[in-house]
Amino acid sequence: MKFRRKSGVESKISTSSMPDIIFMLLIFFMVTTVLREFSGLPVSLPKAERIEKLESKRHTSDIWVSKDGLISIEDKLFNNDDVRHVMYEKRAADPQLTVSLKADQAARMEIISGVHNELRKADALKLNYSTKVKVPN
């Protein structure tokens, strides 16, 4: 019985295209990361346990409410009564819009319910109160 002689194939993986693969990965990550668009107002968010993640950053629009009652959308300050116009346009441009309300924990409820009313008038009904994670005790 004859044994077949082993062929002299070299079993080296070619590494010359390695930089290309890594660069491609790099470019993929750079393209897919969405950078923070607006700096907003300095708020300290409240904490909650039963939180949900927002589905997509692209369908989210932020409203900042500071503890002094300032309302900021896209880094511009608005009066309470002007919120509906801004949000109505946003809602018309994107029907899947979720509004993320980033309000300070010391904000008064009159401002929050004012924003509620404006959002209802603008038909932007999906609301998310942005909170931090509270560790359940």
Binding site: K53, M109, N117
Partner: protein, 132 residues
């Protein structure tokens, strides 16, 4: 005076380190990008002009006073007991709608905590009433 002989140099760039450099860049970007996913309590606001008449006994009022005290159905409740109380009420009547009403001087974090407690109690029908 001795003239030093020139060394013969090759003009090729070593390619072996290229992958390492690219990896380093990749790791640098991965480490420096902070993925701050927005998290929070989700709620659907009622549409304008869609007020429904609801039977009084299917409504449980939850009031937040200006000082941050919480009243559930007329009785003062501590925040940490709220979810248990609401759970009991829901067990008795599964059609119950919890109507959260906050005083306009109440603080937002109390309101969030109340909503959180209602979500803990698995209350799905939450209504945000306008504060008068």
């Amino acid at each position: 005076m001795a003239i030093r002989e020139r060394k013969a140099r090759t003009g090729a760039i070593p390619e072996g380190g290229m992958a390492d450099i690219a990896f380093l860049l990749l790791v640098f970007f991965l480490v420096t990008t902070t993925i701050d996913m927005d998290k929070g309590l989700g709620i659907i606001l009622p549409a304008e002009g869609q007020e429904l008449e609801i039977n009084k006994k299917n409504i449980l009022n939850c009031l937040i006073s200006s000082s941050g005290a919480v009243l559930l159905g007329g009785e003062p409740v501590e925040l940490k007991n709220l979810s248990r109380k609401v759970q009991d009420e829901l067990r008795a009547n599964d059609k119950l709608i919890i109507s959260v009403k906050a005083h306009e001087k109440a603080q937002y974090d109390v309101y969030i905590e109340v909503l959180d407690q209602l979500k803990l109690a698995k209350a799905t029908r939450i209504s945000i009433a306008e504060s008068e």
